[in-house]
C-alpha cells in the first residue's frame, strides 16, 4: 500500500522567511502533484511534476521531484500571509488516482 508522508505537518513561519516542505512516498511513481487547500474550500492544483528531476516554479513556490529517492519538495521563498493554507502532495499511480499525503498546514504571520 502506498504511503505518503509529509513533513512538517504544521508550519508556522514569519513573513519573509524561507522554508521547505518534504513529501516522501513509498512506491514507484513517475509523477507527482501538489495541491493547495484553503479552510473549507476545494483543492487547487499548484504543480504537476512528470519526470525525475522536474522543477517548477510559480511565484514564491518552487516544487521539485526526485523519483529515485521518492521525494518531492515544495520550497517557499520569502513567505507572505496569502500563502497560509494546507498543502498536499499526491503521487499518481495506476488509474492515476491520487494518493494524498497527510498535508502540511502552513501559517504565515507578520
Amino acid at each position: 500500500e502506498l504511503k505518503v508522508e509529509q513533513n512538517p505537518l504544521f508550519l508556522s513561519m514569519q513573513e519573509g522567511k524561507n522554508y521547505t516542505i518534504y513529501c516522501n512516498y513509498s512506491t514507484t511513481s513517475d509523477r507527482l502533484y501538489w495541491y493547495r487547500q484553503d479552510p473549507g474550500k476545494s483543492l487547487e492544483s499548484l504543480f504537476v511534476l512528470l519526470s525525475n528531476g522536474a522543477v517548477k516554479q510559480e511565484g514564491r513556490l518552487m516544487a521539485s521531484l526526485d523519483t529515485k529517492a521518492r521525494l518531492s519538495t515544495l520550497h517557499i521563498t520569502a513567505a507572505v500571509h496569502d500563502l497560509s493554507a494546507t498543502y498536499f502532495c499526491a503521487p499518481g499511480i495506476s488509474s492515476d488516482k491520487l494518493i494524498f499525503g497527510t498535508g502540511t498546514r502552513l501559517q504565515v504571520f507578520p
Partner: protein, 114 residues
C-alpha cells in the same frame, strides 16, 4: 474557464437513508473521480471511472457505494444506506486524459449523517 461543479453544497441526512451526490465534470474530460475528506484529515481516493465503468476503487468504496454517469454530463455518487462515519466532504474530480494531466476538483459536497 470551465470548472467542475457539485450539488448540493451541503446535505444532511439521517443514518440509513440513501443519498446521491451530483457532479458535472468539465465537458471534454474523460476520467472522473470521487474523493472524500473527513474533517481535519487527508483526502482519500474512493473511485475512478472511465468509459462508463469503474477503473479502480478503494477499500472504502464498498457495496454501499455506487457511481453512475446517467447522461453525457452528470457523474453521481450514491450511498445506499448512510452511516455516521460517512460524514465527510466529498469531492468530484475530472481530468482530460491520462499521462499526467491535472485533476480538477469540484467545490465539494459536505455530507452530514445524523
Amino acid at each position: 474557464e470551465p470548472e467542475v461543479t457539485q450539488t448540493p453544497s451541503h446535505q444532511v441526512t439521517q443514518m440509513g437513508q440513501e443519498v446521491i451526490l451530483r457532479c458535472v465534470p468539465i465537458s471534454n474530460h474523460l476520467y472522473f473521480y470521487w474523493y472524500r475528506q473527513i474533517l481535519g484529515q487527508k483526502v482519500e481516493f474512493l473511485v475512478s471511472f472511465y468509459n462508463n465503468e469503474i477503473s479502480e476503487k478503494s477499500e472504502i468504496f464498498d457495496d454501499q457505494f455506487s457511481v453512475e454517469r446517467p447522461d453525457g454530463s452528470n457523474f453521481t455518487l450514491k450511498i445506499r444506506s448512510t452511516k455516521l462515519e460517512d460524514s465527510a466532504m466529498y469531492f468530484c474530480a475530472s481530468r482530460k486524459n491520462m499521462g499526467g494531466s491535472e485533476q480538477y476538483f469540484g467545490p465539494g459536497t459536505r455530507l452530514t449523517v445524523t
